[in-house]
């Protein structure tokens, strides 16, 4: 590692990069000389991080030069999974992949090709463009676990998701199922600063998190019971007439039906479901409703509950609306799509996908909102009212568990090829055993990766992908915000690494997609096309980054007073016409957690504990950075949280290796005895694998051993009927000591 002290050399160029190890995208200054990054540091001028960098951000150079990185395209030699490879060139790899995809399309139809994505590491408008032009509707991500059900349900109700918290003007923030203290540190700093000025904070979380430790009120909810709590809050706010009467009268429809609908959902009803005292439920509802303006911050927890997810999200959205906390100073602001730059949807070429192919999207008949039926409705309304639409990638996808099952069963039709980019599906999607089986079975598998993972291992081709310092980045909240932040490439990709844009474009051109439809030779050209309409006097994209960098329009309050809400009725639809049209209950109706002791006493007998699988924890992000030894040194093993009383009953001591088991399978993590969880609750860590281990055998790199997703539930009847999201939270489990103990 070079020392920062040497950086006064005038030959060193300072490039404005961004971190890519989570969605926060902190600004990073990269000190570059002769094509080599000598050092990085947090950019003090960046609007997000103001100089700070977390553990992940600090390891950027270790990631860049890591000996485990894949640096050349690999073609499988020998059996799949044998980990034997031949290095080939990018053109050769793309030629051969294109040939295979063309043959599969010819024989089975374009829909037999699917793609699996991960978290934001990529230009997924380019992936969508490729898939639309190719003719397949079967792209998907872990999108359903992360914001997408929230966005789409809120868009259905109020015309767009009010996801921008105007916290500087707020009196209270409800942090619901999120832990910015371990996941989004710049946001935690903002909360801490505002607390000093009087902001009140309620944290709703089964775990006494870093954020809960700083809150004014912590509601330790039963995992998966958020819907019951939200309904009871609505009940209290309506019964005690704490709602914003003017806003409800002028700008909401369906209030009378809602009031009638929630009459039975009292705090006394919710108490046994949420494990919260009715008095605490009542008091917390009053706190939120009487301290206006206030925010309810989005957290992934509601997106990750399977069956009750959609109704819970809807109830949370209703809470904001009846308290008048939408689009007002201090409330939750609705940015809408940008009118000032080119948004992702405009880059996706969605018109190229025929109605016939859209109808084939796997899972879209059962789970309709976040797939073509629901997206088409919302997109049509949005285009009519806003003139632009939400991004189709992420918001409108095949249902991931249904695609993995289609690979295994051939139903509803065969999926023969899977292109994996920016994810290890075995770690990150639900029911890992099924995912691993699908990856082993699919006829043709291609993976774009930094490292050799268990997914890459079974691939026919592995393409080496450039990291954050080797590519520019635009972040604009999945193309659904009016703001953006942008970074430039610190250095050209090292070795023979390439980018995902390069991959999709190269593949598209080889498959006969028109050159005019792929007019940008690189990211910089495409990104310049995106930012050009902003009207800054810049010659190219890099100049935009260096002189402008980020774009945050002044917040517009009360836009609805002139234009109405961008729903069909022009109002916030507490009684949702979109959900009703899609065949769903128009008002949020109670349904219990996917597995629970009240509805399923027979399961609870064998699996008496309640599991919340896999919240974020420092220093890892999803399944990333487990190769970085400095990070593994401070977090060497996986730990699950268990109450000391429960542990004593089970004969488990602090640090013991334990099995956590659900009806799907079991994984082993060590016990962290903490009274920060309820006696009946178990919290596991996510993402674990052991890159230092052998790739051979039935569990390559130990990817199933400590992986919390072997526990999660993805059966169709366990998924949320509205969005199709599956269940990581609110499952029943049992825990017992691993008598063999120790490292494997």
């Amino acid at each position: 590692m070079k020392r920062l002290e040497n950086l006064s050399d005038p030959a060193i160029e300072v490039r404005k990069s961004m971190c890519y190890f989570c969605h926060t995208n902190c600004g990073v200054l990269a000190y570059v000389k002769d094509g080599e990054v000598l050092a990085i540091k947090g950019d003090p001028g960046h609007p997000v991080n103001k100089g700070g960098l977390c553990c992940r951000g600090n390891i950027a150079l270790k990631h860049l030069d890591h000996p485990d990185r894949i640096n050349k395209p690999l073609k499988r030699k020998g059996e799949r999974g044998a980990n034997q490879w031949q290095e080939i060139s990018w053109p050769e790899a793309l030629d051969e992949i294109a040939e295979r995809l063309a043959a599969i399309k010819e024989k089975y139809g374009a829909e037999a090709v699917a793609t699996a994505g991960g978290t934001l590491r990529t230009d997924d408008w380019a992936r969508r463009r490729f898939m639309n032009l190719f003719g397949s509707p079967n792209g998907f991500h872990n999108a359903l676990l992360c914001w997408i059900p929230t966005f789409m349900i809120e868009a259905a109700i109020s015309g767009w998701s009010p996801f921008v918290s105007d916290m500087a003007n707020s009196r209270i923030a409800v942090i619901w199922g999120a832990n910015p203290g371990a996941s989004t540190l710049p946001s935690m700093r903002g909360i801490t600063d505002l607390q000093k000025k009087g902001l009140k904070v309620i944290v709703i979380d089964p775990r006494f998190t870093e954020t809960a430790a700083h809150a004014d009120l912590w509601l330790p909810i039963r995992p998966g019971a958020d819907l019951a709590l939200a309904l009871a809050w609505i009940n209290v706010i309506i019964t005690e007439k704490l709602y914003d009467k003017d806003f409800v009268q002028d700008w909401c429809i369906g209030f009378e039906q809602l009031a009638e609908h929630v009459r039975e959902y009292t705090p006394e009803w919710a108490g046994p479901l949420t494990w919260l005292e009715p008095g605490l439920i009542r008091e917390s509802a009053r706190l939120y409703a009487t301290n206006t303006p206030g925010n309810i911050q989005w957290g992934t927890a509601l997106d990750q509950q399977g069956r009750p997810s959609g109704a819970g999200i809807q109830a949370r959205a209703i809470l904001r609306a009846i308290c008048g906390n939408i689009d007002c100073p201090g409330g939750d602001l609705m940015p809408g799509p940008s009118y000032e730059y080119v948004v992702d949807e405009e880059l996706e070429a969605n018109d190229w996908l025929s109605e016939e192919q859209k109808a084939k999207q796997i899972g879209s008949d059962s789970f309709r909102l976040c797939a073509w039926p629901g997206y088409q409705l919302i997109s049509d309304i949005a285009k009519e009212r806003w003139g632009k639409a939400p991004t189709a990638e992420w918001m409108c996808e095949a249902n991931a568990p249904a695609v993995f099952r289609a690979i295994l069963t051939g139903e509803p039709y065969p999926i023969k090829a899977l292109i994996v980019s920016a994810t290890n599906p075995v770690n990150s999607y639900g029911n890992s055993q099924e995912v691993l089986a699908a990856l082993k079975k699919v006829e043709f598998l291609v993976t774009c990766e930094y490292w050799m993972t268990s997914a890459a291992l079974y691939s026919d081709y592995v393409l080496p992908i450039a990291g954050a310092l080797e590519r520019p980045i635009i972040h604009n909240s999945y193309g659904c915000s009016s703001s953006l932040i942008a970074s430039e490439r610190a250095i050209e990709p090292l070795h023979q690494r390439g980018t995902d844009y390069w991959f999709w474009q190269g593949l598209g051109l080889r498959l006969g997609q028109d050159e005019d439809l792929w007019p940008w030779d690189n990211e910089e050209e495409a990104y310049f096309y995106i930012v050009y309409p902003l009207g800054f006097e810049v010659e190219d994209y890099d100049e935009f980054v260096e002189t402008v960098g980020s774009y945050f329009p002044e917040p517009e309050y009360y836009r609805y007073k002139e234009e109405g809400f961008f729903t069909r009725s022009g109002k916030v639809e507490l009684y949702s016409s979109v959900l009703e049209e899609l065949g769903y209950p128009p008002l949020p109706t109670y349904t219990g957690p996917v597995e629970n002791e009240i509805d399923h006493p027979e399961i609870a007998r064998d699996y008496p504990l309640v599991l919340s699988a896999g919240g974020g924890f420092m220093p890892f992000h999803h399944s990333e950075e487990f190769n970085i030894r400095e990070l593994r040194y401070i977090r060497h093993d996986p730990f699950m949280e268990i109450n000391p009383k429960t542990a004593a009953e089970l004969g488990i001591r602090d640090g013991d290796w334990c099995w956590i088991e659900t009806r799907r399978g079991r994984c082993r993590q060590r016990a962290n005895l903490t009274n920060g969880v309820h006696e009946k609750v178990i919290i596991t860590q996510r993402g674990w694998w052991y890159p230092e281990r052998d790739a051979s055998g039935p569990d390559p790199f130990g990817v199933l051993e400590s992986n919390t997703n072997v526990l999660t539930a993805t059966d169709a009847d366990q998924c949320d009927p509205i969005s199709g999201t599956w269940a990581n939270r609110g499952l029943l489990c049992r825990v017992y000591k691993d008598e063999e103990g120790g490292k494997r």
Partner: protein, 186 residues
């Protein structure tokens, strides 16, 4: 004169370990050596009435530094600005300072045999920059500066709030000061 000091605002610290890693990476420390661990206390109390705090540790750069006094070769040095550091050329790895330090802030490197410790990133701070652990902290839970400058943030914090020193009773006059209190008050 300059007298460097650091303030740890435990009311703001969230135990994310960013400082730990930033220091390890940028000072290129051997894998098993950590200059600034963060200790988590808690959650303490009876569920659900809990509290939890984090305690970032580091070399205290004591004014009366026992580690400097015990060094037989003069390798352990204390400069005029208060920074304590080890000259690897003169260190014979006897380990006397490791034992003398009440804060466990000195570490013998197995490979080179010499003692390593935090030097407040002296080359950086003397060039007007902040130590890596301060720069990287999102929460701004660490403040670094000159105690002899009455307008510096460290002076204001040390003199205006009830700041505390760890093991003050040992009278080594540590120059790292701690602010305690409930989270959210920082």
């Amino acid at each position: 004169m300059t007298r460097y000091a650091m303030v740890m605002d435990t009311r703001r610290c969230i135990g994310c370990d960013s400082c730990t890693i930033a220091c390890k990476i940028w000072n290129d420390l051997p894998l098993e050596i950590v200059f600034n661990p963060v200790i988590t206390n808690g959650p303490e109390g009876t569920y659900p009435h809990l509290h939890m705090t984090h305690l970032p540790l580091i070399c205290m750069h004591c004014e009366e530094a026992p580690c400097v006094h015990v060094c037989p070769t003069g390798a352990s040095k204390k400069d005029e600005d208060g920074i304590i550091w080890v000259d690897p050329q003169s260190c014979i790895g006897c380990g006397a300072c490791v034992v003398a330090c009440p804060y466990d802030a000195r570490h013998k490197d197995r490979e080179s045999g010499v003692v390593m410790k935090c030097d407040f990133c002296k080359d950086r701070v003397r060039g007007g920059q902040e130590p890596h652990c301060v720069w990287t902290c999102h929460q701004r839970a660490r403040v670094f500066g000159d105690l002899d400058d009455p307008k510096s943030e460290v002076s204001l914090l040390v003199n205006s709030l009830r700041s505390e020193q760890l093991f003050a009773e040992l009278e080594t006059e540590p120059q790292v000061y701690y602010l305690f209190g409930m989270g959210g008050q920082g």
